[in-house]
Symmetry: C2
Subunit: 308 residues, 2 copies
């Protein structure tokens, strides 16, 4: 178990991983205002947007505008998703702190999600790495379906470690293990995290959980127990899963921070500020969000005793 | 940590703790059919109903009829809530295996929920214990607000242990520590469970979590880590919290069993059977239930690869 007040690093992904799944376009001004608000909440990192083709993800077609207009707070790492060299060049022109590359460790999911074989993805991302390594911008790789594939089922840990090795070999700085569709369970998480941390002590290792089957916070405990200190989360629990309509998506930032702070960790995140930000989401996206903390309030949000 | 395949004991509480909060009356026949279905799912215990005043809880006004009509499966403990001696006599006349008594460890919640001081509750429940100890029926006490009170806030562990001692002294067999409004967090759960198990090694200790703030499964991990093997849960996540409208209630049976079985524990519960039973709930109660497993399916409920 980690020591009390261990420093944790939270990466807020709602404006990228959340908004990209939303039918309703969030206006550029509103995106900028939300990122600015999140920048003042104490997150270690914010995944702002994605430099993908505007045709592929119209929801994030304003990537440059958002990156140029936000008021960047020193100390916060501003990261963006980048699918290819063209995207990397666009991102670099905006002065991002980090690029985040994505591929799946299962062939079926990679082909479905990215319309390429894994080898094609790796070749394309290697080209991105070559370009970005010429700069002082950090490189993270998010490995999807690292704890299970919704089409193939179990994904062997050796497969995950193998892809980590290939990216480590070409010089990326960090790797995020993504439970893309909420298939991870605690003992599996603990085992994979221990093996990954032992094999790659110099990589920044981040865990990305979904709450699809209710286990996101339990899986977080298991990862903490294995020494993991970096986590992705999404304001309001935004971020869907096309394979489980109606199911919750990414682990909810305010639920994650609420638990971690109660357990004595130092997330650096201002929970009240996060909750105020989450309250803005339903208006921005046109529907309710799965956050339990928004509905129930913080643990010590007490109620008056009713008249008897 | 418990050993792999450790036997766990799950108490299904939906027909009592769940239905008592529902506006729509569930017909006696439907209650009996549901209990019968749950009886075949491998639960260690089922909290069938409550022998409270029909005026106080009209939803469970058919307690005798349900108890007499269900087809009891040998090995399953059929327990019922009993508030007073009158209720105990009614329950005993139905041949229940166990009575479950309830009071809160915080004064405000006890006065709000039961309209008595804690001392009045204890005196009343002591009378019940005297009556039931003359029989071979087991006695469990559920201590509400054991991990926080929605009106008073933190509840000291010493207060909880003090009430456990008073009930241990009058000879009850088991005590359930209830996180009535979802205020528990993992490190608190671990600490309280360790202290309770150490102080009362001969009491059957059960944990009752709510998912109000998303932490029910994380708290379950913390309890397991402290050696707890008995858990309450509610089909579909039924069971509300009047202080957090819209928030989820009791920990969802199918989410709990799903995680525990993946983690290698032996719950004895047939998860597929439970899921089939949970699917019946929306028709019975007239609204959707918060179960994530109902929406997303089990972890290895795989999806075909879409045509590309």
């Amino acid at each position: 178990m980690l020591k009390p007040r261990t420093k944790l690093y939270i990466n807020e992904v709602a404006t990228r991983d959340g908004f990209q799944n939303e039918a309703q376009f969030v206006e550029t001004e509103a995106k900028v205002a939300l990122v600015n608000r999140l920048s003042r909440c104490g997150f270690a990192k914010i995944e702002v947007t994605s430099f993908t083709s505007p045709k592929a993800i119209p929801a994030l077609r304003d990537a440059e505008a958002v990156m140029f207009q936000i008021a960047r707070v020193p100390g916060v790492v501003y990261t963006v998703l980048v699918p290819n060299v063209r995207g990397a060049e666009r991102a670099l022109s905006c002065g991002v702190d980090e690029v985040n590359l994505v591929m799946s460790v299962s062939e079926s999911h990679n082909r479905t999600n990215l319309r390429m074989t894994r080898e094609q993805s790796f070749a394309q991302l290697s080209d991105v790495v070559s370009v970005v390594r010429e700069t002082n911008v950090a490189i993270n790789v998010s490995l999807s379906t690292a704890m299970g594939c919704p089409m193939e089922g179990d994904v062997p840990a050796t497969e995950v470690l193998g892809w980590m090795q290939r990216f480590a070999d070409i010089g990326v700085h960090g790797i995020t293990l993504c439970d893309t569709t909420g298939m991870a369970f605690p003992s599996q998480v603990g085992d994979l995290c221990r093996r990954a941390a032992e094999a790659f002590p110099r990589l920044e290792l981040t865990l990305h959980f979904h709450n699809t089957r209710g286990m996101a916070l339990a899986n977080t405990l298991a990862a903490l127990d294995a020494g993991i200190v970096r986590f992705d989360s999404s304001l309001g629990g935004l971020g869907g899963c096309p394979y489980a309509p109606g199911a919750t998506g990414n682990v909810c930032t305010e639920e994650l921070v609420h638990m971690l702070e109660l357990d004595g960790y130092d997330t650096g995140v201002d929970l009240s500020g996060v909750i105020e930000a989450a309250k803005l989401l339903p208006d921005l996206i046109g529907h309710d969000v799965p956050s339990q903390i928004l509905k129930a309030g913080q643990r010590l949000a007490l109620h008056p005793m009713p008249a008897i």
